[in-house]
Every structure is written in C-alpha cells, then in structure tokens.
C-alpha cells in the first residue's frame, strides 16, 4: 500500500528548508529527535516559550533543525549559553541537546556545575560512544576495549558513566534509554521537561559510520539488535551500578527523581530573607 501525504504531523516542529538532514543512514539521531518532537507535542509546551541549545557535533545539529528559538553554540559551551538564557528569562523552558563529547569532554566542567546549582533546564545527551562528527575519535564515554580512530587497537581509558556523573553532581532527574526504546524514551523526555530543576536524559544511540563499523556493528540495525538483546530495565537503581561495558548489558531506566530547590528559587528565597 502506498501512503501519500502532503505533510507530516510533526512538520511544524522542523525547519523544513533545512531538511534533508546531514545524518547518516542508520544513525540514531533522527529517532531521538523524533521522540523529542513527540514529547513536545504531548506535553503541550508553548513553543514560543521553548529554547533549544546545542554544542557542536552531529547531535549539535538538532538546534538547526528544530523550529523553535534555537542556538547552535561553540563546542562544549551549550550549558553556559543555556544558563545565560535561563537566568535572563526565567520563564523560558530551556533544553540542551548535545553529544557525549560536547557535554562531557570539552564541556564537562559546565555540566557538573549546572547540575550542582540545580539550574532549571533539561539536558538531553546522545551518547554514541565517540566524537562522531570529526570521524570517530575516542571520547570520555568510549567503552574500554572499543576501537576508535585515535585508539586503533582498543581503548584503555575508563569511560564516564554519565548517569552516575549526573546523579553525583546533583541532578534531580536522571534516566537512560537507548534509541530503540522510543516510547519509554519519549515518556522520560516528557517527565524531564515537566521536572523543575536540572534533569538529564542519556540516550545510547548507534553511530554506524564513525563507531559501529570499527566495532563489529557496521550498520545501525545491528546495533539496535544489540540493544534489544542486551538492554535491562532497572528503574530506581543506584546509577553507580549502571556502568557500560563492551559486550555487556546496558542498564536503562529512570534512576533519579527527587525534589530540590532550583537555583532560581534559592536566589529569590535569599532576596526575600535579605529584604526582611
């Protein structure tokens, strides 16, 4: 059966003139963006009130495709740009959409401090285990033994467990899914968007071009099959127990969901006290 349609129900969320996108066949980024757009639709967020900020990388391209106020910033600085937006206009819903390298290598410092301050923003990180855009180099989430262009015989550096970093730094909402878990991912994105404070969603996603083909998963499909066979849902566990290893299970789920005053609330509380 052929289906013909003049438009897609999510068209209004995209900058049509920038499509087709640059992402490779089998890349997980399209799926993740799709989940995000569905999450926006279902949370009914006023798009006029939403800003999406990205750093540099394949994931960073999201800022250019999404049809809201968006900012494609310098490599590593998405969170400080987003913090500036949020503090200047606290009514804005601010979402940072970026890659593992952008958020945790060059920009790692900003992540821990925004989480520590509990700045009211949602950080969505697509973790494809490498710097995809520059051609697949080793980054801070590359699993041990994985091969990359700067570790052709296998990685010897311990990777970050991003959910553990987020929780330890003070994030009030922490979840991890793979790009195969589209419904659960969308639900997590909705929860994160509705959460007050620093919320973090990590998505493990295939990068067949730069990572997969060097690691026996030359197509996105093979990586998705791996996710299907090896994902284990464990809601509420201590994220410290959710390390990622080559060939091992990927523990997914919602790990943290707590309440804490945000930076903005703390500032206003302080002003109230000081004025008394």
């Amino acid at each position: 059966m052929e289906i013909e349609a003049k438009s897609h129900p999510l068209d209004r969320y995209l900058r049509a003139e920038r499509i087709p996108h640059i992402w490779c066949p089998g890349c997980g980024l399209g799926t993740v963006l799709n989940c995000f757009l569905h999450a926006l639709e279902e949370t009914n967020i006023n798009l006029k009130n939403l800003a999406v900020v990205s750093g540099i990388g394949c994931t960073g391209r999201v800022a250019g495709y999404i049809n809201v106020d968006s900012y494609h910033t310098t490599h590593g600085r998405a969170i400080p740009f987003a913090t500036g937006l949020k503090l200047a206009n606290p009514k804005l819903k601010v979402v940072v959409f970026s890659g593992d390298g952008d958020l945790f290598a060059i920009g790692g410092n900003h992540f821990i401090h925004a989480a520590r301050r509990n700045i009211d923003m949602t950080v969505i990180c697509v973790n494809n285990y490498n710097y995809g855009m520059t051609g697949g180099q080793l980054g801070p989430t590359t699993p041990l033994e994985a091969r990359t262009t700067t570790a052709p015989y296998g990685n010897i550096e311990h990777p970050f467990n991003l959910c553990h970093v987020a929780a330890a730094s003070g994030a009030v909402y922490v979840a991890r899914w793979t790009s195969l878990h589209v419904r659960r991912l969308k639900e997590s994105m909705k929860e994160a968007l509705n959460k007050k404070g620093f919320s973090f969603v990590e998505i493990i996603a295939p990068c067949p071009t730069a990572f997969g083909r060097r690691n026996k998963e030359p197509t996105g499909l093979e990586t998705l099959k791996y996710y299907k066979e090896h994902s284990v849902i464990k809601h509420g566990i201590d994220p410290a127990e959710a390390d990622i290893e080559m060939g091992g299970d990927i523990i997914v789920g919602k790990f943290v969901d707590i309440e804490k005053p945000t930076f903005d609330e703390a500032v206003h509380e302080l002003i109230k006290k000081a004025r008394k």
Partner: protein, 371 residues
C-alpha cells in the same frame, strides 16, 4: 624517497620523524587526520611517544607545556576554534620559553560555522610569542615542521613554533613530497637540550609570582629572542638547504629582479600567486612575488618594493588586511586586497585581476567591493 600524500599525513610523518616524546591532542576538522595518524604510529610501536587524548585543546597545550618543562620534545595539532581555545596556554608557552611545536590547519572562525581556509585563526595569535611559519605546499609542510623544532629549541631562541597551512586546499590534498631518510633527519635535528628542567632530583619551582621589574625583563628577553630568530631561521633554513637541497628563509623572492610590482601573499594564496606571476610575465607584465614564510618574527626589512600588492586571506575588523597593515608605512606604494575569507576560491585568474585593479589604482575587498 618520494611519497604522495595529503599535507595532514605529511605533517604527521614529519612530526614522527622529529621523534617527539609527548603528543597531546583533541580532534577538530580539518586537522584531525594528523592526530589520528600519529595515534596509529604510537599504537603500532613505530613512534615511541606518550599520546594523550585530552578533553580539549586548552588541555592539549597545557599538557605539551608541562611535558616540555621536563625536557621532553612535544607536538600537537589544531585548527580554528581549537587554536582560539588554546590562546591562554599559547601565551604561557611563549613566556615560559618552552619550544613546543604545533601544526595549525587554517580554518575560518564562527559563528557562521565554516570549516574552510582563512588565516584569521593563527594571525589572531600574533602576540603570544610563537614563531609562525606558513607553508604553501606539502613539501614545505614537511620541511617546516622539521626546521621548526631546530629553530624553537635553539638555545638562543627557546620559543614555541607553529606551522600553519590552509584547510582542505593543502590539508586534504595529495602532492608528491621528498622525504629524507630518518638518519639524515637525526643528524640535522639533534636531541632537545633544555636549559632548565623540572627534575625531581633537583627541584625548582616554576610559575611563581614575579614583581614588575623582572617581569619586564622576561618580556624584553622574549623580544630579543624573537629578533634573533630572524637570523637563526635563515641560518637553519640554509643548513637545511645544504643537507636536503631545499633552502628556506623568511621570505621567498620569485621573479622580483626587474619587477615594477610585487605581490605579497602567504600560504596557499602564495602558490596561486606564483602561477599568476608566470601568466602575467608571459603577457609581458613586470611582476614578481614575495612569498611570506614567517609572520612572526615579521621580516619588515625583506618586504620592500616600489609598488606592492598585498593579498590578505584574513581581516582585522576596523583596520583591514593584517599583513597589509604590518607592511603599511614602509615607504612603498601599497595596494591591499582582502580575498578568499571562509574558503572563497581565489584562482590565479583572480590574482591577475587584482594586479590589473592595482594598476588602475584600486584596492579593497575582492570581489565584494572591487572586481
């Protein structure tokens, strides 16, 4: 041996043959294939070096600085925003007088994200105390990286050195390159003998607070070293020529003897200008080329001619072409052109056109203002 390869792979090969002890790097287009190739050399055991996959360029330079302070020979490579992020550390390497050697692949600066050639990234590092070489061919890339170590490590100089070349135009373009034997390179480039090192047996402290007068002395000695570098660059370039058959200096003169006009250009633009000069000469025009190889130290005394045409692939907003402004005021009649920013293609035909425009007394942004 003659090999055919891209400037990036040639830069990696030259770095390998210089036998650095420590390499620290972060990827960025269009530099990345240099540090990927070096990672491969190290992991295959072809290069005995420590390779650190740092988390940013700022850290890459910090690691090179500290390694150099222990007496190690170091290497890194970057481009554009990566170089800009290093800026603080570049000053540090310069003032600490550590002969770190780096390759910068010239690329435009954002916003207006752009990965193509533009010299503003390295020219913006003008005052950091780095010696700056610009290469116009893959052969020059190889030769300049080797010479850069010898010049930087010269005990009278002890300044960091950067070899720059255009993104994609050179970085990803294959050309034949004559690669000398390792033993000949070893003869030319002896081990680095630092004047002082951080040494556990003989502890010293480095980086402490310095009162105003000695601070000024530090700056003064740096200036003197830069001035002296002009002579040392020429001497080492000549020695290289004797050994390998290709001589280098601060400026390369091409068909300038009887020229009415000379074109001044650097990097890939200079290679294109050479073609333009040949074409114009065939038409009977008396024109030559002064190819600028070192931007720091700046060879003012070598850049003089009655009538000069300076082509800048860079811009100092509010002032104009950076090289143009370096030369301006030397008594020559000078016509300045800004061309090729962000990788806009500039062919020898465009350069011929700029020559015609200069003869009509015109100058400016090409082709935005004059064409």
């Amino acid at each position: 041996m003659i090999i055919v390869d891209t400037a990036n792979h040639i830069a990696a090969l030259a770095a390998k043959m210089a036998k650095p002890h420590v390499i620290a790097a972060y990827p960025i287009t269009p530099q990345t294939t240099i540090v990927e190739r070096l990672a491969e050399y190290v992991e295959k055991g072809e290069l005995n070096a420590e390779y650190i996959r740092v988390e940013s360029e700022h850290s890459a330079m910090a690691a090179c600085i500290a390694a150099a302070a222990t007496g190690a020979r170091t290497f890194t490579a970057t481009s554009s925003h990566g170089l800009l992020l290093m800026h603080e550390m570049l000053h540090w390497a310069g003032l600490a007088r550590l002969p770190v050697v780096m390759v910068n692949v010239n690329r435009a600066i954002g916003p207006g994200w752009n990965i193509w050639s533009d010299l503003n990234d390295s020219l913006a590092q003008r005052d950091t105390g780095w010696i700056q070489f610009y290469a116009s061919s893959n052969q020059e890339v190889f030769d300049s990286v080797i010479q850069a170590y010898k010049i930087a490590e010269n005990e009278e100089i002890l300044l960091p050195a950067m070899v720059s070349y255009d993104g994609f135009i050179l970085s990803h373009t294959s050309m034949p390159v004559e690669v000398p034997e390792q033993s000949k390179i070893d003869e030319f480039l002896p081990d680095f003998k630092p004047g002082w090192i951080l040494d556990v047996e003989n502890p010293i402290t480095h980086g402490n607070i310095v009162p105003p007068e000695p601070y000024m002395e530090i700056r003064y000695s740096m200036q003197k070293a830069m001035e002296k570098a002009k002579k040392v660059i020429e001497e080492i370039g000549e020695e290289y020529g004797k050994k390998f058959g290709r001589e280098y200096g601060l400026v390369e003169e091409y068909r300038c003897e009887d020229a009415d006009y000379v074109i001044v250009a650097m990097a890939a633009m200079a290679a294109e200008a050479k073609v333009a000069v040949d074409e114009l000469r065939q038409k009977g025009e008396k024109v030559g080329l002064l190819k600028l190889r070192t931007f720091r130290p700046f060879p003012h005394e070598r850049l003089k001619h009655d009538k000069m045409i300076v082509i800048d692939r860079d811009i100092c907003p509010g002032l104009g072409g950076i090289v143009y402004n370096e030369i301006k005021g030397n008594g020559s009649e000078i016509y300045g052109f800004i061309a090729g920013l962000g990788g806009v293609d500039v062919s020898y035909k465009d350069i011929e056109r700029m020559y015609e425009l200069a003869k009509e007394g015109k100058e400016g942004w090409y082709p935005t203002e004059v064409k």
